[in-house]
Symmetry: C2
């Protein structure tokens, strides 16, 4: 399990570093950044909360707290689901999009410096193929 | 950035799946399991809270809440640091170790089924070497 061990520790350290860099230079937490990214990729900058929770590997209750906090910062807003009275949608605000655009270069630079630049083109292919296989496997299971 | 994208999504989905399997079969959350693993590997099953926070990629305040919750479950206890009045140590209890031993097969089986079995021996070597390089790079920086 040498590869698993290296992966767990390395990916945690990487996450910590990217998180600290975003927090220090842009004042935004990595989990908040990830919510902004997911919403920015959706039509109308909107996603159902239940779907968003899955996308950012969070529980519904934890995401609900996070969205409340982000709503106070003006980064997102909650809207009612038109075709489902119990559904709630999270929507990116213009301020959220501006924050994402300001923070993205820091994050992308961090990913490059602490991961991509450490990989050979061959390793990049291996990692892409492996995690695409993992995604396919987990989507089926 | 295809490899980064696959890695981010794949590793999140993997984490979600391993978390759900642990929660459903053993009633323990993955972050709690990770705390138990780290403490079990230390001399005397003890680690300073400030060091443990780094090890599990958590902030000190978030870890403090988590340890309080785990303390109520009897999995860990806080002890004062003998050589530093402000330092606090988290210590694994026997119940915590029993819980870890009961949960470990589920977690190890999940890691095997959803990651290791999907990798060729060559890919395992690439992933191990890559993340060891990431760890070394981040330790230096």
């Amino acid at each position: 399990m040498r590869s698993w061990r290296a992966y767990v520790i390395g990916s945690e350290l990487l996450r910590q570093r990217l998180s600290r860099e975003l927090q220090e230079s842009e004042g935004i937490a990595l989990p908040d950044y990830e919510v902004l990214v997911r919403l920015s990729e959706c039509d109308g900058w909107q996603m159902r909360m239940s779907h968003l929770a899955g996308q950012v590997a969070s529980s519904k209750s934890r995401l609900s707290h996070q969205i409340s906090r982000m709503e106070k910062l003006g980064l997102v807003k909650r809207v009612e689901c038109p075709d489902d009275a119990r559904g709630v949608i999270a929507e990116l605000t213009q301020k959220g999009m501006d924050t994402l655009r300001a923070a993205a270069p820091t994050h992308v630079e961090g990913v490059r410096a602490h991961l991509v630049d450490l990989m050979t083109p061959e390793e990049q292919k291996v990692v892409a193929a492996l995690f695409e296989r993992v995604i396919e496997h987990l989507d089926q299971g």
